[in-house]
């Protein structure tokens, strides 16, 4: 019964978010062991909170999923000088020591249901006290393994202890230098093809390739943002050799692009009401958000030979911004989740700006500026004598390349691209009207080298124009 009450309290936590003095903690240092005995450390990390539901997944990539132990240590600073009650919901064995007092000592891996344990210690505002949480699981019930650490006091409601009160004392993940990017103003149609002119060209594209969790298997994400009065647009080209969509709710454990927004650019080390975390999973048509704020959000993905493409839009109204204007700045970061080993367990994560899996740390976000109108494209030069299509730019540094051709009538433009060995690497097939037309070929995932391409214009009824093989040079 006691356990049930603690669980019930846990469900109410998100409803009680009191105002605190602003601290800048980074979390606790977590040492992960691949056995139940807290010996032979395998992975060390800074965890923003002690709040995990592993669900049968390894606590860290490349560790056994069923038997492990963790020691979180550091300091905790309270906002008030008064007795604090610490509560641990756990499935597994746990001990909790705060300021030298043993509050919980339950070093037995009891079977489900989840148990709750509590202890009281008096803390002093502004004074850091040592804290250590030890946990182990024998692997008997891996799908139920969890630990969640909360606190409350007479002046403070019950809540999972947020990172701002926890200090790891470790410099494992130095705060990254915020990068800056801008979104020019242009509309896009969310159809899974980045074919609007505003997506074209190398400018505005950013590349994320820094692995912060596990093994991302060389995956990369190249992304660009646009905006208009109605929406914020995101276009991403992902290089990932193995795509996974398990269809279950934990989208971040699959092949997924994550978008983090701090709409007021207020920073801070905790996730607040103006912070958003969107999940755009490969092969989904509906986006997810950490707190379900997906009204009007559009998502389309397209499978590419070397990965996938994401095109999405988020209404400003859903972001609580009624009238965006040029010059506004938002906190922005982008993550990429990778799952190569099957199951519903993430193997790795890439973050563009942040130094760790700090999606709940807006202070680690980059700065996204809303710029003016996107440059108007100049008129397309005519085709050379003979009417052969051309690629622009050639050579290209990545991003999109326009293939320009002249349609002799309404029909379908078919473009195929092969690598130097004659292996097909990309295809486009787009309906086009008569006249000078173009198609956008995304080469973000292409290795540097020379590629053959051919254009075929199919007008139906067996009528078609076919052109000679040409060479596109890709630099990086």
């Amino acid at each position: 019964m006691k356990s049930f009450l603690f669980l019930l309290l846990g469900f109410l936590l998100v409803l009680a978010r009191p105002c605190h003095a602003q601290l800048n903690g980074d979390g606790l240092k977590g040492i992960y062991y691949d056995n139940a005995n807290l010996t032979n450390a395998a992975v060390t990390a800074v965890d923003p909170m002690v709040s995990f539901r592993w669900g049968g997944c390894p606590p860290q990539p490349n560790m056994p999923s069923t038997v492990f132990s963790v020691q979180w240590s550091g300091q905790i600073e309270a906002a008030y000088s008064e007795p604090y009650t610490f509560i641990v919901d756990v499935n597994g064995g746990v001990s909790l020591v705060v300021n030298g007092q043993v509050l919980v000592n339950q070093w037995t891996d009891l079977p489900p249901p989840v148990r709750g344990f509590a202890g009281v210690v008096t803390l002093t505002a502004g004074v850091k006290a040592p804290i250590e949480v030890d946990y182990f699981t024998s692997g008997a019930n891996p799908s139920s393994d969890l630990i969640q650490l909360a606190w409350q006091s007479p002046s403070q409601g019950l809540e999972y202890i947020p990172r701002q009160y926890l200090f790891s004392g470790a410099a494992l993940n130095p705060t990254p230098t915020p990068q800056a990017l801008s979104a020019c103003q242009a509309a896009a149609v969310v159809d899974g093809v980045l074919d609007e002119w505003a997506w074209a060209g190398p400018s505005g594209w950013n590349s994320a390739n820094r692995t912060v969790v596990g093994n991302a298997y060389g995956s990369t994400a190249s992304f660009k943002t646009l905006w208009d009065s109605a929406n914020l647009y995101l276009g991403v080209t992902v290089t990932d050799s193995q795509l996974t969509n398990t269809g279950v709710a934990s989208t971040w454990k699959n092949s997924t692009v994550e978008l983090y927004l701090d709409t007021t650019d207020s920073g801070g080390v905790t996730f607040s009401g103006n912070d958003y975390e969107y999940f755009f999973r490969w092969n989904d048509t509906v986006a997810a958000e950490a707190q379900g704020r997906t009204a009007g959000v559009s998502l389309r993905t397209t499978t590419l030979p070397s990965g996938y493409l994401v095109e999405a839009s988020i209404p400003w109204s859903t972001l609580g911004m009624a009238s965006p204007s040029a010059g506004m700045v938002l906190g922005f970061d982008l993550g990429l989740d990778v799952n190569h080993n099957g199951g519903n367990c993430r193997d790795g994560q890439i973050i563009w700006n942040g130094g760790s899996d700090d999606y709940e740390n807006p202070s680690a976000y980059a700065k996204l500026s809303l710029a003016g109108a996107c440059p108007t494209p100049v008129s397309t030069p005519p085709l050379p004598t003979g009417g052969d299509p051309y690629a622009a730019p050639n050579p290209t540094n990545g991003g999109n390349v326009r293939i320009v051709y002249d349609m002799g009538g309404a029909g379908t433009a078919k473009i195929k691209v092969w690598n130097a060995w004659g292996n097909l690497v990309a295809t486009l097939s787009e309906p086009k009207a008569a006249g000078l037309q173009s198609s956008l070929l995304n080469v973000s995932s292409f290795a540097p080298g020379h590629y053959f391409y051919r254009v075929e214009l199919d007008y139906g009824s067996g009528r078609a124009d076919r052109f000679k093989t040409q060479v596109l040079a890709v630099q990086k």
Partner: protein, 443 residues
Amino acid sequence: MNFARRAGLVPGALILGLWGAFPAWAQTEASGAGLATPLSALGASARADGLGGAFVGLADDPSALFYNSAGLSQLRAVSLSINHNSYLAGSFEETLLFGLPVGPLGGFAAALQYVSWGGLDDRDANGVSLGTFTDGDAAFSVGWGMPVLKGLSLGLALHGTQQKIVDSLYSSLSGDAGLLWAPDSKLRVGLSYSGLGTALSGFAPAQDLHMGLSGLWDLGKGSGLRPLLAGDWEPRGVSRVQGGLEGVLEGNYFLRLGFQVPLADNQVGGLTGFTAGAGFNLGSVRLDYAFVPYGDLGTSHRLSLAYEFPTSAPAALRPVTVNANPVTVQAAPVTVVVTPGPTPLSANGSPKSKIEVRFELPGDGSSAQGQAPVSYQLAPYEKAAQDNPGDSRAWRNLGIVYLRAGQNALGVQCLEQALRLNPNDPALKKWLDEYHLKNPSKP
């Protein structure tokens, strides 16, 4: 049927069985945009391309450097070849390939490659023409194949590639490892793994597992058919099945057909999937051509011109003891003890006179065992070769006597020395070609 059972069906079933375990069969669409493309994967041999590229299980010439470096252990003459590949969309490839046998250590090969992409259409992001630009890629390859057990060879190769794209240079280094098993003259099985190496600008090189086999159907008099079958498993790219058939006429004329079927639809359309080629020997010169259509993408024409160097200077002298009387001949470090026959061929028995004796070579490249009885004293012929090391006739006679004594390896080496000293001996060259066709392992 016996041939088919030994050289075709059983190993073929083995290869296909191994391939069945690979998921590559399930490929439904192409991939590989994110793979670096080392030039070594383009190959450098009209002969191999004419055979559908299914060369991993044959690999008996210096181009084994690109297909299965273990095959370099089979080299038997110093050779230099120039290979031209008129490739797609105005590009072309030139390769200089050098092969060097090193006795019991097997053989080395080295190659320089250059690919020109021609004059490319230079455009800015708006499509404004800026003229043309020229790009070229260069590569250096070196490999070593060495026999390790009877019929089994291992090989290693290293490929350094530098790609130039306008003003950017991209360098990468990749390695191959190969294995070749030749239990007899009719069957060879090869295995090679390529693409072990450094990433190019963050893009990993394609990694391939090649496996294949070749057989030999001997039609006699230097003629025969050599079927080949191979598979190429490329986890991140396009896997393929390859096959070929080489017809040899009188040891000097060659016709080739091949196929290569990708396990993904490359959508090239038109004529593709098969290859053809031809070649001939003219003394020490060999010319090969291959026709490799890539459907609508175009056609690759390959031409290879190779020259085998005669060795004018005697090779390292090795002592051979025959009948307890030490003599020195150019041969591998072996010791042969032969009971002398009762009758010298020449009545006067003068060593000098032995030079004038011309024996008939055994028929169609066969060893001489089971032919004539051992009826010659070896010592006079050995002494003749010792006294006249630059006279091809002395080595020719000694080689034949060795063959008749059942010492095939020593005999062939003497005959090869005779051919080096006198390359203008078509009968001897033909005989040796036939012998090596039937006995691919280095004697």
